[in-house]
Symmetry: C2
């Protein structure tokens, strides 16, 4: 039994690896089995334990992500969401490893946005606009810069100071980028080639009218029915709306659930799941002026792909 901390995983397993692992997994989803997520409330509000098991019959490895949600944690400088992923060898039933799952969750979510951007955004997209600079943001940034020649990053956050900190963090790692903090979100939206939203907002964080032709949008913040960071009008303006997991999106994406209820944009109008884009392997957008939207809620088999990928790399 090996235990890997966040820093050990982080040192060896990167965005490029995660994108490759997830795209490879799309080609063998018939060998991957999941069970519904189990949630046990453990206190007030969102306080809870979440359990997401999954098995890869081809590799004969199983994973379970054990996630704790502790809303009071930020008061004590601890993260709200913490996770561990346990890997079992299905050939002989032995537990092989426990990996810190917090970085891997952020990484796989960033990789999903990266894959969406790779197939959906204009190939000459250079300006990334980020709305929300919280815990998930850095790997969202990494996912986008991995696949497009980004030279400008625009940041907006409700608390501007946090956006400034995030700018400092980016420039430390990527000093050649042009990074700007904006206090007016509509300025960001109008200038961005790619808009990446990662907030827990229950209301739209931008106005769909501000979105320019040719823009691609990734929305990864809302993962519960009451969360609605994307302006649902964007779905009707878009050439294509793609989700990471159709079943999950119908149950967890607040924006899509509301649009479906209001019949402004129904679940049947969702164009594809991300796996189809990856399997086709070509640019998905038909028109340089089109608006495209990717909505991501997460699923256990993405955690499995990166956990097994990281485990294999750590054991090379």
């Amino acid at each position: 039994m090996q235990v890997y901390s966040e820093s050990e995983v982080k040192e060896r397993y990167h965005m490029k690896d995660a994108i490759t692992a997830i795209e490879e997994s799309f080609n063998k989803l018939n060998q991957i089995k999941t069970a519904p997520r189990t949630v046990i409330p453990t206190g007030d509000g969102a306080k809870s334990m979440l359990y997401m098991p999954c098995v890869d019959l081809a590799k004969q490895l199983g994973t379970i992500k054990i996630t704790s949600i502790t809303p009071e944690n930020p008061k004590q400088q601890l993260p709200t969401t913490q996770a561990q992923i346990v890997i079992t060898n299905l050939k002989n039933g032995e537990t092989k490893a426990m990996l810190d799952g917090s970085y891997l969750t952020r990484l796989r979510t960033g990789a999903l946005s990266g894959i969406a951007t790779k197939y959906m955004s204009r190939e000459n997209a250079t300006t990334l606009g980020m709305i929300g600079t919280g815990g998930m943001a850095y790997e969202q940034f990494l996912g986008n810069i991995e696949v497009r020649p980004i030279n400008t990053v625009l940041l907006y956050n409700r608390t501007t100071e946090k956006a400034q900190d995030f700018k400092t963090r980016i420039l430390k790692d990527y000093p050649d980028l042009n990074v700007q903090v904006l206090e007016d979100v509509s300025k960001l939206v109008k200038q961005a080639d790619i808009i990446n939203c990662q907030t827990p907002s229950t209301q739209p964080v931008f106005n769909a009218e501000d979105v320019q032709p040719g823009t691609h949008i990734n929305g990864i913040g809302s993962y519960q029915p009451d969360m609605k960071e994307l302006d649902a009008n964007i779905f009707t303006q878009a050439e294509s709306v793609v989700v990471d997991d159709l079943e999950g999106a119908k149950e967890e994406s607040g924006e899509l659930i509301e649009a479906n209820e209001n019949k402004t944009f129904t679940f049947e109008e969702i164009n594809d799941e991300l796996k189809t884009l990856s399997q086709q392997g070509t640019l998905y957008r038909k028109n340089n002026d089109a608006i495209t939207v990717f909505k991501c809620v997460g699923a256990a088999y993405f955690d499995l792909a990166v956990a097994i990928g990281a485990y294999e790399k750590l054991n090379q």
Copy 2:
């Protein structure tokens, strides 16, 4: 994050501890929450992964038992069932420890039989008859000798050689006991004050007609609807039939399910759950000549009780 192997847990945490932990947990079940067990089949037959989560809101600790069932394993001298238990601190969401769960599962099952024997068998019971000497048997033996003045142990196993090995194992630890291997199960049944069955048999392993007045029976082997080690006629002969967990028994005890379907003994006739006996704290049997039966299928909150108990003891 601490990882504890089977031998580390075994060295510090014993049958007496497990019995105490489970009986204490009976008094705060309103603070313990479980979710249904998740099962993902991973191959032919019973090959599967099982996930059993549970939280103790009073202690603010959560556990999940991750179990692998690998039926081909014995061919390679590996156990069919292997388990790990992960403990999370609910106060701050941090994972505290991973404990090998195989010994703890055997121990909690032995403790449940021990608790049943303590409240249900005659107080002067001295002869323990064990049917099945496989992987679960030793802790069943320990559970019984912890609570009754056992001086004689009768063993029966389909493969007699394994019963001989088990006798050697007992005598190594308890040289003063009178231990006999019998080749005729009815001889064992007729002599025993307590009969403890731990087989995966799909047919009765003894004949109810052989059971003498005053005998107490523990059945822990059948935990799936197709497993039926107890002769269902014993339920109608018994003064009382007690189960560890009523919901689990209705879904998993093959004997009780069949008896209920045949209307020879319905679920409504089950007298009590084990917790009631423990809470009353007095001898449950009314009559020295009565036959009593305890049927055990297991539940996540028993795993939680011993895992937290062991974790606390290991950290004293």
